[in-house]
């Protein structure tokens, strides 16, 4: 993934969130075979931005090599939810949205 593409993706996702007023976003990175520090920061940045827009973000499908790289780069993404696969990711989002519902009740 090129840097420019990454930045594009970031703004695209945020705009989609705003447009659809999405309450949750699942980011599937299973095709990402390796990352560098830029992508790593972009991923955690995206999660933070979405959180500010009151949207839950769950990253799924991370590959072992990517996880190892992120750890070695010191980009542990605290506060970013991750799940092993789509199914678990959806479960996690549903739980988050559930607690959200309580905000509005």
């Amino acid at each position: 993934m090129h840097d420019k593409l990454a930045i594009q993706l970031q703004s695209q996702i945020l705009e989609e969130i705003a447009k659809t007023r999405a309450k949750g976003v699942l980011i599937d990175i299973s095709v990402l075979e390796m990352v560098d520090s830029f992508i790593g920061r972009m991923l955690s940045g995206m999660a933070s931005m979405a959180a500010i827009m009151d949207t839950s973000v769950v990253i799924v499908g991370m590959q072992p090599a990517v996880a190892i790289t992120l750890v070695e780069l010191g980009l542990e993404m605290p506060g970013v939810d991750t799940a092993l696969n789509m199914e678990k990711g959806m479960e996690m989002l549903e739980r988050r949205l559930n607690t959200r519902k309580q905000d509005f009740q």
């Binding site: 996880a67 750890v71 092993l84 479960e91 559930n98």
Partner: protein, 229 residues
């Protein structure tokens, strides 16, 4: 008064000595003068023969030792090849990851850990987590007496990487020596979950499973399919 030397066939015998010495120099180990004549010259001839004896004996010994050394060398090279092969095999066999229960993986580690082995273990475990979708894994190091700072770092990285994937990695069976190394490294302990024994780790893991199931059921109850608006 000068003595008169009694030497028979002087010219012949001098030629013979030269021939024999030349043969020995050329490599003939068996060339000897072996004169039958007994006179003032035979002393030298006998002495030369003895000298040749000693020399050829030395040479034979040296050849023998050379051959022995070469044999030993090739034996050692064979053994080295075997050791390398066994090391590879050991690396592959040494740390199998098994799914012991619903959603729970176990990686029992036995023996000394070096940096390379730990790296392989780490990649193996993370891949297994992704392949099986198990969110709980137990890294049991009861069988590991000590670790160096590199290995301790790898272990910490494994736990952190597992969390990034969306799973949890519990370390069980930490010895006092290893506990000291971890603290000396200044590793943030709040981020590693540890249990004293494999048993404790299993009990904890199964409780987690049950808790997760309960949450899932509650979640489904609280949110029946009415979110289509």
């Amino acid at each position: 008064m000068s003595e008169i030397l009694n030497v028979q066939n002087a010219k012949e015998r001098i030629d013979r000595i030269e021939d024999i010495l030349a043969s020995v120099a050329a490599g003939d180990m068996d060339a000897r003068i072996q004169s039958d004549i007994e006179d003032d010259f035979s002393g030298i001839e006998a002495a030369i023969d003895l000298l040749i004896n000693d020399l050829t004996e030395e040479l034979r010994q040296r050849e023998k030792m050379q051959k022995e050394l070469e044999n030993k060398l090739s034996k050692i090279q064979e053994q080295q090849k075997t050791i390398l092969q066994q090391q590879e095999d050991l690396l592959e066999l040494s740390s199998p990851v098994s799914k012991v229960w619903d959603n729970i993986l176990i990686l029992p580690v036995i023996g000394t850990l070096d940096s390379q082995r730990t790296q392989v273990m780490m990649e193996n475990l993370l891949q297994k987590i992704v392949d099986t979708g198990c969110t709980i894994s137990i890294l049991d190091i009861t069988g590991v007496p000590t670790v160096d700072t590199q290995v301790a770092n790898h272990l910490f990285k494994t736990v952190t990487a597992a969390r990034l994937l969306g799973a949890e990695c519990i370390i069980s069976g930490i010895s006092p020596a290893i506990a000291q190394t971890i603290v000396h490294l200044g590793i943030d302990l709040s981020s590693i979950r540890t249990k004293a024994t494999l048993q404790d780790a299993m009990i904890f893991a199964m409780k987690q499973n049950r808790r997760a199931d309960e949450i899932r059921t509650l979640s489904n109850l609280a949110m029946p399919n009415d979110n289509v608006d």
